[in-house]
Amino acid sequence: MQQENAFTTALNLILSGDAVLGEIVVLSLAVTLTALLVSAIIGLPLGAALALARFPGRSFLVVTFNALMGLPPVVAGLAVYLMLSRSGPLGWLGILFSPSAMIVAQTLLITPIIVSLTRQVVEDLWGEYEEQLRSLGSSRLQAIPTLLWDGRFSLITAILAGFGRASAEVGAILIVGGNIAGYTRTMTTAIALETSRGDLALALGLGIILLGITLSLNAAAYVTGRLAQKAAG
């Protein structure tokens, strides 16, 4: 009963071209993709550096990043909240309860995923490439961009894992974004809101739409990746 309603609701929402829904979808994607971009810019080189560098405390860092992959979103949200609050160290930025704050929180959540998965991919590649690259005179530092580029197809999976976590996440962005209608309401916080209002059909309908978007993006990434991989060998 409820489920049937959900599908009809989802369909109606899409077909009616609901403007509010459109805004929510655009905001959700903007926040998640921006966080993903920032995480990739930070996480890819950092993960590669962690794979190649040898320094005391490296194992500790590796384990820490692995553990942070399981950082509870609520904890990440709370940490960012305390940072960005007017009473916190970054309060002067004045970005709490804004999309920027949500991006910061999601970046915090997904950077460890990208760092850890990148480290693994690059470490494996380095095992294969080390002699050849060192023979060519490449330092470990010089090897970082080479290995990232050669690992690009495996790294797509790391990026997608980050995207998955960010787009599914509600705990952190609810705390730092405030779920403000028309400003910081995303797919997931809207689902949480409709659930608490008892409108389970609408909540599930939004869930179906979110799933559809996630599925489309993953499919696009997969197909693009496969085609490029075929071309590049």
Binding site: E128, Y129, E131, Q132, L133, R134, S135, L136, G137, S138, Q142, T146, W149, D150, R152, F153, A231, A232, G233
Partner: protein, 241 residues
């Protein structure tokens, strides 16, 4: 080439490489003179590949030294290159692989493209230039690896069993490239377990067994009158490891 200044002769002095208490290369000393072709032979596990890697600087000796014209070679602008048994190609085009290697050397970015194209053209690989290197055949990849090494303009080229994974036609192509390199004045140091190949290419033979250098002998003499019992057995195909 390299007329004014040479890193040769290459001298190994008491070269030793120990892992977990076992000396895999044990007190090996030899000299490689300019313009020669040295083939390192020996049964499996003799320490041939390790010796090459020690000379090339990929491994640090436990004791002993490698000196180039009297100087300890430091990393950086190396004047020697290496071709491996299984070449590692990057996920990019054949040409880009050569350009990448050049980008790690003294070649200016303006010269790289031209130099890389020249290397491919010289060894008949020009039509493969735009193809992804990883989907080339094993023989094509090894020839590409050779062209890449040539492009670096090394004075010495180390080759570690470069044809052991190749079919006869590809093996022949690689041997021809080695001859061409040598004709250019390049010094060759190579391992192989292929006796025929060694006969075709060697000026001198280093014979290793259980990490020890048993002979450093001119090629003709080695194949006609090997000094050691082990070398005699090896040439007869009776000493496998």
């Amino acid at each position: 080439m390299h007329g004014s200044f040479s890193i040769l002769p290459l001298r190994a002095d008491g070269l030793t490489y120990v892992i977990r208490g076992r000396a895999l290369v044990d007190n090996v000393s030899f000299v490689v003179a300019r313009g020669t072709r040295t083939i390192i032979m020996g049964p499996n596990g003799a320490g041939k590949s390790l010796t090459l890697r020690l000379c090339h600087g990929l491994l640090q000796p436990s004791s002993g030294s490698v000196t180039w014209n009297g100087a300890a070679q430091v990393n950086g602008r190396k004047r020697h290159a290496m071709v491996f048994q299984r070449p590692v190609m990057l996920r990019r085009s054949a040409l880009a692989n050569v350009v990448h290697a050049l980008s790690l050397t003294r070649f200016s970015s303006a010269d790289r493209q031209a130099r890389a194209s020249e290397a491919l053209a010289r060894f008949g690989l020009a039509e493969l230039a735009r193809r992804p290197a990883r989907i080339l055949s094993g023989g094509e990849q090894q020839r590409l690896a050779m062209a890449r090494a040539w492009a670096l303009d090394p004075e010495v080229l180390f080759l570690d069993e470069p044809t052991s994974a190749l079919d006869p036609a590809a093996t022949r192509a690689v041997e021809e490239m080695i001859e061409a390199f040598h004709a250019d004045g390049m010094t060759i140091v190579m391992t192989t377990h292929d006796l025929g190949q060694a006969r075709r290419l060697a000026d001198q033979v280093l014979f290793l067994h259980h990490g020890r250098l048993l002979e450093q002998t001119p090629a003709e003499e080695f194949f006609e009158r090997p000094r050691s019992e082990a070398a005699r057995a090896f040439i007869k195909g009776e000493l496998l490891w």
